[in-house]
């Protein structure tokens, strides 16, 4: 009998990371991608590998696990594929969270203290230290906390590096291939029917990001993963101006909010090309891809509150994408309770790039019956937030 056949649905960062872990473990992996690898949600994010924005709890634990895993994962990729690993642009630059109001400062202080309890390094910066770390940042701030654990990657390059390593380990990629349904026998998935043929499977991993809900529905086991829209502004290349990932303390509130209307919070960072990325917005508008000047305007205003000297910076591009959102804001990692052989690895909202390393490890642990790297229970697919019918789009 041959190796266990696993079909991974989606070649974004989560699908690529899972395919890599499973292929390295010796499974026969086929990655099915409707469009092109790393072209959807993965290509439209900022490349966050963050611990700073998560309060104590399972998501922070997954973030800490991921942060521990990343250097080793990238070293392993580099050992065989140095060029692909270089394209990751791993930058352990650290994050700085800034509260601009007294109320925000009290909140941030409490938040950081709780994070420290959970093992996060979170160091308050005084005015001189902040000015040295970020000379162009507003002096008008109430509290700033430095998180040396935050890092940044080029997200599409990271996903393609992980996918390339999976392919090297024997995985097969089928791009331009859309999932249509599942063949089942005795309550167990036996194959995935796609636009380019049926693929026999002992196990199927749903890693279709914001399209996971639709993909799971086609497989006969719907989950409540919805799109949450985000936009990012990109400046023209500039001399070095921003040195860390710098964001407003109200970002944490915006991430955790379930509101459908616009949530915006300043997130400012530079890239190796010299551009500055300015985020971020959160809206629940289905798959409406229209870029709204009003939303961009709010992002610009919030960014200028942190970096007033960027008023003259040229915005040359804006892009938007969809985060995979679950109403309780936790990823879904684990077996489907209704259909044997179906697994989910989705729902990471805006944190999928950073969380992909830990997610892939945890999923592989569960699928292979290894001791899990952390407690998987909070991410299980049979929780009410995931299995509820959800709202119609």
């Amino acid at each position: 009998m041959g190796a266990t056949r696993v079909v991974v649905l989606g070649a974004g960062i989560i699908g690529a990371a899972c395919a890599r872990e499973l292929a390295l473990a010796g499974l026969a992996v086929t990655v099915v991608e409707r469009g092109a690898p790393a072209a959807a949600t993965t290509a439209h994010g900022e490349g966050n590998v963050l611990v700073s924005d998560k309060g104590p709890g399972p998501e922070l634990d997954l973030a800490l696990l991921s942060r521990r895993l990343w250097p080793g994962v990238l070293d392993a990729v580099a050992a065989h594929l140095p060029e692909a690993a270089a394209a990751v642009e791993w930058e352990p630059k650290g994050g700085i969270v800034v509260a601009t109001t007294a109320g925000g400062a009290r909140e941030l202080e409490r938040f950081a203290a709780a994070q420290r309890e959970a093992g996060v390094t979170a160091e308050p910066l005084d005015a001189a230290a902040l000015a040295a770390a970020e000379p162009h940042l507003t002096r008008d701030f109430a509290l700033a906390v430095h998180y040396p654990g935050d890092a940044q990657v080029q997200p599409a390059g990271t996903a393609t590096a992980l996918l390339a390593d999976a392919l090297r380990a024997g995985a097969v990629l089928r791009a331009g291939c859309e999932v249509l349904g599942a063949d089942t026998a005795g309550g167990r998935i036996t194959a995935v029917r796609t636009s380019t043929g049926t693929i026999g499977a002992d196990a199927v991993v749903n890693a279709a990001g914001p399209w996971s809900g639709e993909t799971a529905r086609r497989l006969g086991a719907p989950v409540d993963v919805r799109p949450r829209r985000g936009e990012v502004l990109v400046t023209a290349p500039m001399p070095p101006t921003v040195f860390h990932k710098v964001y407003d303390a109200d970002y944490v509130g915006a991430v955790g909010s379930g509101a459908g209307d616009l949530q915006a919070s300043a997130v400012v960072e530079s890239t190796r090309a010299g551009t500055i990325l300015l985020g971020s917005s959160r809206r629940r508008v289905g798959f409406d891809e229209r870029i709204r000047p009003g939303v961009l305007s709010v992002i610009a205003g919030k960014a200028l509150r942190l970096f007033p000297s960027l008023a003259g910076a040229t915005v040359m591009r804006a892009y938007g994408g969809f985060r995979p959102y679950v109403p309780d804001h936790l990823p879904v990692i684990g077996p489907d309770p209704r259909l044997d052989g179906l697994w989910h690895a989705t729902g990471h909202e805006g944190a999928g790039i950073g969380l992909s390393a830990g997610t892939a490890r945890l999923l592989a642990d569960l699928m292979l019956g290894r001791d899990p790297a952390m407690d998987p229970a909070p991410f299980r697919a049979d929780r009410p937030a995931v299995l509820s019918e959800g709202e119609s789009r």
Binding site: E91, A236, M238, P240, S270, R272, A273, G274, G312, T314
Partner: protein, 105 residues
């Protein structure tokens, strides 16, 4: 020879030029009212004034605002297309370089 402006005296369009002066990285450069910043620079004999990421020289390429090769800083405003911005007497133009942008690796 280098780029130049058709002398008003021999121009079939019969111009009556008004001189202006701008500075480029601090040095005075003479031009004519109505010229773009790129026109002033070219007429002064400069073919390039910007450096790309590798330091490669760039000047005018498309001449109509599509290629962004000719970007300069005008009176402190970065990223101005020199081929589209009319020069104003007294403008302080400084050249830009991509070679210094981005973060050190």
């Amino acid at each position: 020879m280098s780029p130049r402006i058709v002398p008003a005296s021999s121009d079939a369009a019969r111009r009556r030029d008004t001189p202006l002066q701008i500075t480029v990285d601090g040095a005075a450069v003479a031009g004519v009212e109505g010229q773009t910043v790129a026109g002033v620079l070219l007429a002064a004999g400069r073919r390039s004034w910007r450096a790309g990421p590798s330091g490669a020289p760039r000047g005018v390429f498309c001449g109509i605002g599509a290629c962004f090769d000719c970007l300069v800083t005008v009176n402190g405003e970065r990223d101005v297309r020199a081929c589209r911005r009319r020069a104003v007497d007294g403008d302080a133009v400084s050249t830009q370089s991509r070679a210094g942008t981005g973060e050190p690796r």
